[in-house]
């Protein structure tokens, strides 16, 4: 056998190279969701539920009926997670886009300040930021004489919007800087001012480039919304814990319920991940 001095098997090395190349194009880690993961989740769910059912006696409810009984409540919690993800993504995207544009400002203080904010929130653990917001944000604010209460979930949404803002800022800055300098030169020589150049010529070309990494970020954010359970928000993880204790703390229900929730997240995030890969491939051909 002709020797190879690779320390790893060649197929594994090729897969790694291919994945790195795709992640570089998308601009971040791609959730490595495959259809077979979903299949495995379903298998685990079915087997664990079966095992739990086998352990239970005849007088106890079947696992399936327990899960179905609690599904409406847990679904409400899951929808709450999705709502948090939408709000955090919307807020983070708007402020992050501004921050990204400020990073290429001609004024040094604006550039430096927005760079600092971006780097700080990008490199801070999301859970730490969440705790920060839970304990530092007031429980109500007064604006123009109106008192607005800030419930926990709003603080958690704000806390999750912060890393989104920083990542969107980098996505936007990266997209703007990837536009060839010839575009800036030709629009300047046509007497466009900087604002016109940015908004009419550069940004429209950036939208396409920003879409794959932005969608990638959304998938990551959705999965991160369960962090809110750590800070006490009543979303799907918290509810699942409460449901399990309501069922008497049966340890044989743990795996079925948590794999059930995992399956929901999978069903939501898998199409997004696949669509991201398709978008990335679609745009890669054009450029």
């Amino acid at each position: 056998m002709s020797g190879t001095d690779l320390p790893v098997l060649l197929p594994a090395a090729q897969q790694l190279a291919e994945r790195t190349r795709r992640e570089r194009e998308v601009g971040g880690p791609i959730p490595r969701l495959q259809a077979r993961h979903g299949v495995w989740l379903a298998v685990i769910l079915v087997f664990s539920a079966g095992a739990a059912g086998a352990q239970a006696g005849a007088e106890q409810e079947s696992v399936l009926s327990i899960m179905l009984k609690w599904t409406p409540l847990l679904l409400k919690g899951f929808v709450f997670n999705l709502a948090i993800s939408f709000l955090a993504m919307a807020g983070g995207t708007i402020v992050g886009a501004l921050l990204g544009i400020w990073q290429i400002s001609l004024l040094p203080p604006v550039r430096a300040g927005s760079w600092l904010v971006t780097q700080f929130f990008r490199n801070a653990p999301w859970l730490v930021l969440l705790f920060f917001c839970m304990f530092l944000l007031p429980f109500q604010v007064q604006i123009f004489g109106y008192v607005i209460p800030l419930p926990d979930w709003i603080k958690a949404t704000f806390g999750l919007a912060l890393p989104v803002m920083a990542n969107v800022s980098e996505i936007v800055r990266g997209a703007i800087q990837s536009i060839p300098s010839g575009q800036w030169e030709s629009s300047e020589s046509l007497a466009f001012n900087r604002r016109q150049t940015l908004w009419q010529i550069i940004m429209p070309q950036c939208i396409k480039r920003m879409l794959p990494p932005w969608m990638n970020l959304y998938a990551i954010l959705t999965m991160a919304t369960v962090l809110a359970s750590v800070v006490g928000v009543s979303e799907v993880m918290t509810l699942t814990g409460q449901v399990l204790s309501a069922e008497g703390g049966r340890t044989d229900l743990l795996v079925p319920f948590y794999s059930y929730i995992l399956l929901w997240f999978f069903i939501y995030c898998y199409p997004i991940a696949r669509w991201t890969v398709r978008l990335e491939r679609h745009f890669a051909v054009k450029t």
Binding site: G182, Q183, S186, S187, E188, L190, A191, F192, P204
Partner: protein
């Protein structure tokens, strides 16, 4: 020297006087002087890195200069108080890489600047854009995107786009260098027609045949200085400087 002198057509429309330019420590232009009268066609030739493209970019203030002066229609280009945008409305530039806006159609590319910058009426601009595209022989391609056009067609759209602003001076930076030989001709014909209509043109080019036929004056630059200049007949028949002779010997 005042920033705006009353300029008359008997004075050079572009006056470049003893210009020095450096990117950091790298000196690109070292004492370049050049005068262009209105309606003249000037061709600048020279080896890569001799500063030709930088010289063009200094004329419409895309690149700042360190020393010396450049005046367009009597206006000092590198006067800090000068509104660069006003200057760029008078000086059009066409690039080697076309640099069309890929997200707009050909006619939209041509229309964008007059509408956005000059704030002209849309219907007028649209009519003029169609006329310009017809002039550069691109009738029927008005609604194509740059990605659907060939290199030569894109370059002609770029020329039409610059002409839409009604400039007084047109700068061409090696506009045929990225094209294959068949399409070079269609672009050169367009530029020649422009020159015959009386547009002041400064071309950086490698097309010696074109330069010989169309130019009023030739300049040869090497390593940041103008080595030699003259009328095309003299320049090509009797180059005086050895560097010029060597360069022409390699090209012709």
């Amino acid at each position: 020297m005042t920033a705006t002198q009353a300029w008359t057509t008997d004075q050079p429309i572009v006056r470049i006087a003893d210009v020095y330019q450096a990117f950091g420590a790298v000196e690109v232009l070292m004492g370049v002087s050049l005068n262009v009268m209105k309606g003249e066609v000037i061709c600048i030739i020279g080896p890569s890195g001799s500063g030709k493209s930088t010289l063009l970019r200094c004329i419409n203030a895309l690149v700042p200069i360190n020393k010396g002066s450049i005046q367009v229609e009597g206006q000092e280009v590198h006067d800090p108080k000068l509104d660069k945008l006003e200057l760029r409305k008078k000086v059009g530039m066409v690039f080697q890489q076309y640099n069309l806006f890929p997200h707009k159609t050909a006619v939209q590319n041509v229309m964008m600047a007059p509408i956005t910058v000059l704030k002209q009426d849309k219907t007028e601009v649209e009519a003029r854009a169609y006329a310009l595209l017809k002039k550069v022989r691109l009738e029927g391609k008005e609604h194509s995107y740059p990605g659907e056009l060939s290199g030569g067609q894109q370059q002609r759209v770029a020329i039409a786009r610059s002409l839409a602003m009604n400039p007084d001076v047109m700068l061409f930076d090696e506009v045929t260098a990225a094209l294959d030989p068949e399409t070079v001709k269609e672009v050169l014909v367009t530029i020649r027609e422009l020159a015959e209509e009386g547009m002041t043109c400064l071309l950086v080019t490698h097309e010696m045949g074109f330069a010989r036929e169309v130019a009023d004056h030739m300049y040869f630059t090497d390593r940041g200085v103008i080595v030699e200049h003259g009328s095309p007949k003299e320049f090509f028949a009797n180059p005086k400087d050895p560097r010029t002779k060597e360069f022409l010997g390699q090209i012709l």
